[in-house]
């Protein structure tokens, strides 16, 4: 359908991925365990974030994304996102990558479904870029790169009509159709039902530009109001709040697309959209948010307990293997309400690898998942992947 879906897809999914990885690495820093072979420091985390963000907002990469084209298949999409994750020194094994992919796609699906008006997809995208900018704020050139990307998005997307945005949204909804993976955080926050469907409130403010349902106005032949009648809408809707900003920076109004894993951001997000009533305020860097810790432990369970270890006596490069410790989960279903071990340590094994560029190529081979080349859409990602090899 729409030929302009890919940039929004990659940036939003990439954003969710960054939120998750960032939170994992921060928690690692906080849970200092003497049994580890080495600590994953805050500097390491920043380095990983910088590398991934630099790849995602690379000029050539974005240009390729912005070229009008059909949407990628899930397979091609996953390959691109895996490459993104591996743009840094960190490595994820296939099982962890599977779970990470499930988690980020369900998060983005939630945002698309709940999106109040189709054009708010752009605001959701900007929530992601805003938060990413905050994460890499110590790197001004990277912030500039993100700003430049945002300018391009503004140029391409703001002229589109609501109908054209809806087409983009419908195209995305086809991609995510039938994905009903239950995510523990969503279940706990009453965002998702046990059957996997998202909760849709029939209350709260109507989207910007809408009227509250309940009024019938009749006119005469001259266009004059002759009668107003009310009818019960069945829900409890209120008037629209202000519109989110479509500029480089500003109050986005909606919480959709912000970091739900507890990483702080400088902007106060006003929980003004319908499902946001239970959203917790952001916390400072240094104090571990107990909810975030719990969520992180859930994440640890989701991702099979990534093991991070840093070998102190290694003179070669950093290669990180995320080993699946926890194999109890069945398939891709996420376990329902569970006991968290708040003292559970998340360990990530890391060894430095100076041959990072060839590593990327090797990983590409690893994740190419040999076997039968299915859809012709596998070819769609090839240009993009080839370019990523050169980054």
């Amino acid at each position: 359908m729409s030929q302009r879906t890919l940039p929004l897809l990659i940036i939003n999914l990439g954003g969710e991925m960054i939120y998750i990885l960032d939170q994992r690495l921060r928690a690692q820093d906080e849970h200092d365990d003497k049994t580890q072979r080495g600590r994953w420091t805050d500097d390491d985390r920043k380095r990983v974030m910088n590398d991934i963000v630099a790849t995602m907002f690379n000029k050539a990469f974005l240009e390729e994304l912005l070229r009008p084209q059909d949407l990628y298949s899930h397979r091609a999409l996953r390959t691109v996102l895996t490459r993104l994750a591996h743009a840094s020194i960190m490595r994820l094994n296939p099982a962890s990558m599977d779970k990470l992919y499930d988690l980020m796609t369900m998060a983005f699906k939630y945002q698309i479904v709940l999106c109040p008006r189709p054009q708010d997809l752009l605001v959701i995208t900007f929530n992601h870029t805003d938060t990413i900018k905050e994460l890499v704020k110590d790197n001004p050139s990277l912030v500039n790169q993100i700003n430049e990307a945002q300018r391009q998005l503004i140029e391409v997307y703001t002229p589109l009509s609501d109908g054209e945005f809806q087409l983009i949204r419908h195209t995305l909804l086809v991609l995510f159709q039938d994905m009903q993976i239950r995510v523990s955080i969503f279940l706990k926050e009453n965002i998702q039902n046990p059957n996997g469907h998202f909760v849709l409130q029939t209350s709260g403010p109507v989207p910007y530009g809408f009227e509250v349902p309940g009024l019938i106005r009749c006119f005469n032949a001259k266009g004059r109001d002759v009668r107003k009648t009310r009818f019960p809408s069945g829900g409890s809707y209120t008037r629209a709040v202000r519109q989110g900003s479509f500029d480089l920076s500003g109050d986005r109004v909606t919480f959709l697309g912000t970091n739900m894993y507890g990483t702080p951001s400088s902007e106060e997000k006003d929980p003004s959209t319908t499902s946001n009533s239970k959203r917790k305020p952001k916390q400072a860097d240094t104090t571990p948010n107990p909810l975030a810790t719990e969520e992180l432990n859930l994440l640890a369970k989701l991702m099979g307990g990534m093991e991070v270890q840093k070998l102190s006596n290694v003179d070669a490069g950093f290669k990180v293997n995320l080993l699946a410790l926890d194999l109890e989960e069945e398939g891709i279903g996420i376990s329902e309400g569970t006991v968290h071990q708040s003292s559970r340590v998340i360990n990530i094994q890391a060894t430095q690898d100076q041959l990072a560029s060839t590593e990327l190529a090797r990983i590409a081979g690893e994740f190419d998942e040999g076997g039968s080349p299915t859809e012709g859409s596998r070819n769609k990602g090839d240009d993009l992947l080839a370019m990523m090899d050169e980054l």
Partner: protein, 339 residues
């Protein structure tokens, strides 16, 4: 106060409904005591025929077509039955073209390929908006804004493109023909597009544009024409009633809190059904007073389909005794009948 409608047993379909406007079509076959339903899922149309006694269901799936390719991943935008005096045809519109089948979906009788550019352009290409008009026309809309008029013989596959109507500049969203059965109505057809423009037409060898009703830069996703009144549902959740030929606004309803996806009219009783992403299905009643040339709309009933973004809602009969609903990601057709 008793509820106007109550829920019936749902019909399971082979795959879930996609988020598309007007994603449900119903064909009632009284002589065989059957009702056919179609629901679009990506590149496939799920067809189910249900016997009125509720005992027999049979399923069929139709796939989108693309040139000479055996199986196509081309996405289908809409599927709808076109009821003509001599025959019923099932029409599918996709990114690649327009397919027409015999009403039971057994044989494809016609294929019209859209002009698709060599390299993808920023503007999407697809067909959307389907209506049967008078005795022998089927009109289909295109993303460029054109409305294609096909001449359909009473039988056989000699269907031809007779005219292309170029009034809209934005993608067609929906098309509807006069459904009251009255021959007195001047207007035969209304077409709607993504900027909310409504064009009212008279059919014939050459279709004639009767009126253009401007929009408000908001997509009109679903439209109906009944006794000369245009009923339009918009992305802003509003429903507007216009006099087709003159463009006079009769009524405006703040009907839904989210984008409207589907409207339908029960022509014998003037019942109107509207459904939106806000999970609500609402039933209204239209009454026309020819003496004062006024149209009134009255709210009758609400039904909330919990946690569902509704994408199709249609009456199953001309009186509005029963209606059916589809929702994004739902693999069932939910039915309601009057209590």
């Amino acid at each position: 106060m008793a509820k106007m409608y109550h829920k019936e047993k749902s019909i399971q379909i082979k795959s879930s409904a996609s988020a598309l406007y007007n994603n449900l079509s119903v064909l009632r076959i009284a002589p065989r005591c059957l009702t056919y339903f179609t629901v679009v899922h990506a590149n496939v149309v799920n067809m189910v025929s249900a016997s009125w006694d509720g005992l027999n269901y049979s399923h069929r799936q139709l796939q989108s077509k693309e040139g000479n390719v055996a199986t196509s991943s081309s996405l289908i935008m809409q599927a709808a039955w076109c009821v003509l005096p001599s025959r019923d045809l099932l029409v599918l519109t996709s990114q690649k073209g327009i397919q027409m089948y015999e009403s039971d979906g057994s044989i494809m009788v016609y294929w019209h390929a859209l002009d698709t550019p060599e390299t993808p352009t920023a503007k999407a290409v697809f067909a959307r908006g389907i209506a049967a008009v008078r005795e022998k026309y089927i009109c289909v809309g295109v993303s460029s804004g054109s409305v294609l008029v096909f001449d359909v013989p009473s039988k056989g596959s000699n269907i031809t493109l007779s005219e292309v109507l170029e009034e809209h500049k934005e993608a067609i969203t929906d098309i509807a023909s006069e459904c009251s059965g009255s021959l007195e109505c001047i207007a035969d057809l209304v077409s709607a597009d993504d900027c909310g423009l409504l064009c009212v037409w008279k059919s014939g060898e050459d279709f004639q544009l009767l009126n253009k009703i401007p929009g408000f830069d908001t997509s009109c996703s679903s439209v109906k024409l009944w006794k000369g009144t245009v009923i339009a549902g918009y992305g802003t959740g509003q429903i507007r009633l216009y006099e087709g030929v003159t463009g006079i606004l009769h009524a405006e309803v703040n009907a839904h809190a989210r984008w409207i996806y589907s409207l339908d009219i029960a022509p014998f009783t003037g019942l109107l059904i509207s459904a939106a992403e806000d999970s609500w299905v609402r039933v209204w009643h239209l009454s026309l007073t020819p003496e004062t040339n006024s149209v009134e709309i009255e709210h009758m009933y609400n039904e909330c389909v919990t946690d569902t973004q509704i994408c199709g809602a249609k009456f199953c009969d001309g009186d509005g005794y029963a209606f059916a609903v589809t929702g994004y990601d739902l693999s069932e057709i939910i039915r309601y009948t009057q209590a």
